[in-house]
Symmetry: D2
Subunit: 436 residues, 4 copies
Amino acid sequence: MLSTLPVHATADSPKKPRAPDLHGRLLSSRQLSLALAAPLSDEDQTVQPMDDASPTKWHLAHTTWFYESFILKPNLPDYREFAADFEYCFNSYYESKGARQPRGRRGLLTRPSAQQVRDYRAHVDRELGRLFTEGFVDDGPDPLVAMLELGINHEQQHQELLLTDILSLFAYQPLRPAYREPQPKPEPQVAAEPMQFIAFDGGIRGIGYDGSRFSYDNEGPRHDVLLYPYRLADRCVTNGEWLAFMEAGGYGEPLLWLADGWTTVKSQAWDAPGYWEERDGVWHQMTLEGLLPVDPRAPVTHISYYEANAFANWAGKRLPTEFEWEAASAGYEVAGNDLGTGALRPRPAGPGNGRLTQMFGDVWEWTSSAYLPYPGYRPAPGAVGEYNGKFMVSQNVLRGGSCATPTGHVRASYRNFFYPQQRWQFTGLRLAEDAA
Amino acid sequence: MLSTLPVHATADSPKKPRAPDLHGRLLSSRQLSLALAAPLSDEDQTVQPMDDASPTKWHLAHTTWFYESFILKPNLPDYREFAADFEYCFNSYYESKGARQPRGRRGLLTRPSAQQVRDYRAHVDRELGRLFTEGFVDDGPDPLVAMLELGINHEQQHQELLLTDILSLFAYQPLRPAYREPQPKPEPQVAAEPMQFIAFDGGIRGIGYDGSRFSYDNEGPRHDVLLYPYRLADRCVTNGEWLAFMEAGGYGEPLLWLADGWTTVKSQAWDAPGYWEERDGVWHQMTLEGLLPVDPRAPVTHISYYEANAFANWAGKRLPTEFEWEAASAGYEVAGNDLGTGALRPRPAGPGNGRLTQMFGDVWEWTSSAYLPYPGYRPAPGAVGEYNGKFMVSQNVLRGGSCATPTGHVRASYRNFFYPQQRWQFTGLRLAEDAA
Amino acid sequence: MLSTLPVHATADSPKKPRAPDLHGRLLSSRQLSLALAAPLSDEDQTVQPMDDASPTKWHLAHTTWFYESFILKPNLPDYREFAADFEYCFNSYYESKGARQPRGRRGLLTRPSAQQVRDYRAHVDRELGRLFTEGFVDDGPDPLVAMLELGINHEQQHQELLLTDILSLFAYQPLRPAYREPQPKPEPQVAAEPMQFIAFDGGIRGIGYDGSRFSYDNEGPRHDVLLYPYRLADRCVTNGEWLAFMEAGGYGEPLLWLADGWTTVKSQAWDAPGYWEERDGVWHQMTLEGLLPVDPRAPVTHISYYEANAFANWAGKRLPTEFEWEAASAGYEVAGNDLGTGALRPRPAGPGNGRLTQMFGDVWEWTSSAYLPYPGYRPAPGAVGEYNGKFMVSQNVLRGGSCATPTGHVRASYRNFFYPQQRWQFTGLRLAEDAA
Amino acid sequence: MLSTLPVHATADSPKKPRAPDLHGRLLSSRQLSLALAAPLSDEDQTVQPMDDASPTKWHLAHTTWFYESFILKPNLPDYREFAADFEYCFNSYYESKGARQPRGRRGLLTRPSAQQVRDYRAHVDRELGRLFTEGFVDDGPDPLVAMLELGINHEQQHQELLLTDILSLFAYQPLRPAYREPQPKPEPQVAAEPMQFIAFDGGIRGIGYDGSRFSYDNEGPRHDVLLYPYRLADRCVTNGEWLAFMEAGGYGEPLLWLADGWTTVKSQAWDAPGYWEERDGVWHQMTLEGLLPVDPRAPVTHISYYEANAFANWAGKRLPTEFEWEAASAGYEVAGNDLGTGALRPRPAGPGNGRLTQMFGDVWEWTSSAYLPYPGYRPAPGAVGEYNGKFMVSQNVLRGGSCATPTGHVRASYRNFFYPQQRWQFTGLRLAEDAA
């Protein structure tokens, strides 16, 4: 993802981000990654369970390489590279940066060791500090500030992935280890509030980021879209509602499914969301706190787009477009059950009282919108131009962040994207319908 | 695809399609399929070269089964099924019609024989005639007329596939057989006219079918979209322009490609459009007239969405959206180099003189739009509801028809769709750019 | 397979094969192939159901190419090649003859047509006739006679394959067509005679071909092996006995199986021999006469080596070695239920009365011997040296011929070989045990 | 592999193995495994590079589980299982012991941790000690002694695998780490001694183990075979000779190869032995001491059976049978460059002076013999019966041990076996020829 700061944020920014504040945010972001890795052994941090999920160690190193490659080398004149081989090891997908360890083999890298990666982080953090103390940022050009903002946001994305990827690893293990000990959950096991639909007018709406802070290039350019009147559910679909879908034979009825979805259901033998397993007649789900009984009031999660779409068909509803979602979010505070709450799992919604709940945090909400460029979108030149644009095919947009998203990372205009069959993220759904 | 006739065509139709005319069109559609198969031996008609491409014999039988299953059985009281096993053999993908021969194994069906399939066609054609002569259509309900229109349009789609699929089969064969002998091509081998861009205003535009004749359900509901000003090339990209892209290293430069596209280029070792092969230093392309030298002035064809997108990036342009394409087509006659010209290949464009050329016929034009439902779209209940809606994920829309599309089949609102890696159809591209 | 005639047959041959007799045998062998193909439509003859099984048309052409390439071109001075492309199309695996149609794509060749292949055969047959009438054989060198013998034997092998491959194709088809109409089977449905074991002494035995007629190179050199005393069952294992194995849970008990076999059973979901399917509670098997109820008294067939080995373990017995089998066959006439009987299926054994039955014909009998060269074996130089030797790894030897083997093709020393998972041939088993 | 001690060792053993000696050997075997793992980080010990190669940690745990499951649980009345889940995690392939972690997913087990595995080892070692100190072995039945011998030998096999598997892992890593620092190699870089062939008589030879110590069940029963006169090379084929094969185009000449071998060469793009890579025009090979230049005098290693066979064809020789190898080894001391020398790599042969060299140690020598049961072989009942017999198909026998084989593990009668395409072991070849 390319920071759009050079293009539209700093241009009209009322107040330039000040270096000390930026340095502080940078440092705390760097520390958060280490804190998230802390409960894990070096062994846990090394293994890759599947192509989509990278090792913790790789996340820790890749985010560091990003600073080294895109910030320190071009901007700190006497910067000394930590180790020549690390670019090969920890480049993710930047073709312009040359050959790299194949994605599916990131888990073979027992060397460099986790300790070397921590040393790498310390080295790069020190050198990033020099950028500030030696005046490069204060006096520096705006593009450097923009790149540092991008570095922070990039690392935040990997913090979420670190958690979802370690969950994937632990879910594959016979011992079903917990990332942390289960926390008490005082909520009574009563049913969720009935789902309510809230109406929104149609008309022309502005879509895309229009603020003065950081945003990704794929959130712009800001532009108008024409919406028809619609209604959105005031909360996400719950596990309890999903169980009703399952009991009604939802996974066995082809007419509910997209053709590709049905093929996947059959070939993968799906009969429940990801990480669900039945033990003694009770459905459990693998979580960061280990294997726990499914809470019927909490939002369903680890579902693919195919499943979200089939559920909506079964319910006689549909998924919202990303534009409907963004327009509806206007006036809502960007706050919710994100990583900052420490819950590490989606939580039941409170009463809506005529307003949307769970818009931010809990689960990424699948939209019916394909991930495509906005009118006038152009990727930036150079390596960071590979950030977002090259993925704009065959994926769907998700909105709102999840229980694993670092606080402050998402916005109303934030666009996440995954392939329709993927479900190892904290993905869920909110229903919509036409208002006409 | 579900006919939308019951819903919005017949409702406001000024004049109901009359049965005799309908019967005549039906008969000539049925005869066209046989005429297209006539140059092929029974052996040619039996083999399946890859999962995407079905045998001629299967097309002949499947379109017949469609009439038998959706029209004759429900509407002709004393209809006698031709053979009980044929539903299993020739159902394509209708889950509601039960188990069927797996798609990739359609080519194993040496029985029923091609002759039996021809007998099957004759039987069904006779019985369809009884629908008319015994008064079922004249007095019949509108849904039957709508289904007959759907049957004709369905068969037209398979007529195009019959040609592209036999081309695929012949392209795999070492003898590179010709579907028909090459026809003389009197055009001088001079360069194409320079590409011109024609400007279109932005604003709110109506999209989707709004006429009173047949259309597919995915062309509606008619609705408004908001467009920004744009320009469209007055003709399709030519083979000559594509050769320039190849010579500039287009297939070797990852930064031009979508990530999935680049993966495909490497894994498939693509270095040219489909069916191209170099012989003695000259690029040839397999065509329905056999292996022929590439004509630099004709539109490039047999390209994937990935390639179309990469070419547009290289040219500093983009692909149009399907809405831009449809809005631009307003006022143009639906006519061009389709199957009716007998050319069986895309032909060079004439001079544009400030107007768009090649909008209909020649090649299906990839758009940047994902294939998604229009606002308010609902698939019909029942088996024909499986026609279009269940494919609305991971595919892109193409517009305008090709040199293999039967005359009268497409419209300005017509939406074709394929996966981004597919290129055995007559697919090409037209460039677009922002006008701002 | 290389004829060993040049090396040891003709050297000590008491009487050289005379040309007229050879020409007669050649002609009748050529006619037999056409007769076997006669019940099949051109469509049937074109399609390939799986990599192992080639189309009928390909067999007809390949055996013809063999004569053209190895006999006519080198020996008939003014021979005119029928068509230049046919070597590419119909070479099987001779690396020394250059590139060829990939094995798994033989079924894509709708051109050349079946009629062209028949014309090709007629052309080559005429030219082979000239070899005789113009005196090349009579006066010719012994190697030419040897090559003609090899050509006949080579075609006989493909005659058997033609039948097993068309059975494979028909078994994949939903209509389960019959190669020919079922013949009446007058045998009463009574149980088979109890299996008896016949003892054979140990000691040094001569193994390999020692006659003066044609044999394959892999049957020599004749050499001594040391055997321990053993016993052989007087007949093959029957379907009834196999049903008992199935009912005892044989396909579900891993300890009975070789590790590779168990992996195959699970991955292929095998629970019965090849072509078996249960209909209304009765086991049927696809045969050249269509889908028929399993005859409990007939030899089980279409079993892999893995299955044969598991059955023997379950029965507390073992498979014989190929040396035990060959030594035991001494004194038995090479005759049985082969292609010449016209039965086209394995038949129940008659009473053994203390002698072995079913040694020749009915089913190829899996032995426990790996397919390896005999001491002193050397492949011939040149293309025919690729006949047998290059397959001597990972396969097991089978002995005795089957109901699809042309009369006169096999000998006591004849070694057939297949991979342990293959079962589309008429394969079965005979039990053995140590005599000590 | 089942110990045959109960059957033929203890029966005629002149002196029963005494418990104290056995305990001492057991302890030092247990300590050797830990010593081999000592240079590796916990991360190194966790990852699995491919299905064939297991993680170090898994080897350490599996060998421990073997003692727990087959010895402690059945023989130590109050034995307390270390952890209930470990049987699932660390059972290798014993179907009779129930479900287990799939082989290709052994590397996902970050839990239990390497430290827990070391604790597991300590626990089991203590309890094995109690077997001795509490008198179970001294007074115990012979089968327990046999099982303890089997446990030691089983662990020795895994010690060799531990080394070859970590080499495989390190070879996949971009940093090409060394298991240990390269040791000085004082040998001058001169050519190897010319290869000499030593003649052996034919006749009847006894094959299989006939001593009174431990051997595997697949080494018996002792039996006679008939050999023809033959000659064996006095040393293994060297890297220098292999380079000559490569330079002569050996990897590009299909007529030298078995058909399956040629398919593998093409699909795997093999052009050199395993772990070879060219750097700056010099061939290097990945070793336990990292990436080093190939020593032309040392035996070639990491070659498949296909390659060994092709080389022998190219050289106009053949591979020996396992019987020829074993008969030739008579009178030679079982000693050589095994794990005990500490070389960790094959070393150049010294002068033969008319005698065979390198028969034991250096490289496992591929023989032309398929891995099959000896006459009269029967696997033992119960789980240990799954040790050897179930692998007796599609593999070839190798003889003599390698530089990674623990001292004392092999014998003249020892039969190792691998699939013909495998080459991650220290595999090499010795040429043979007929003497006639």
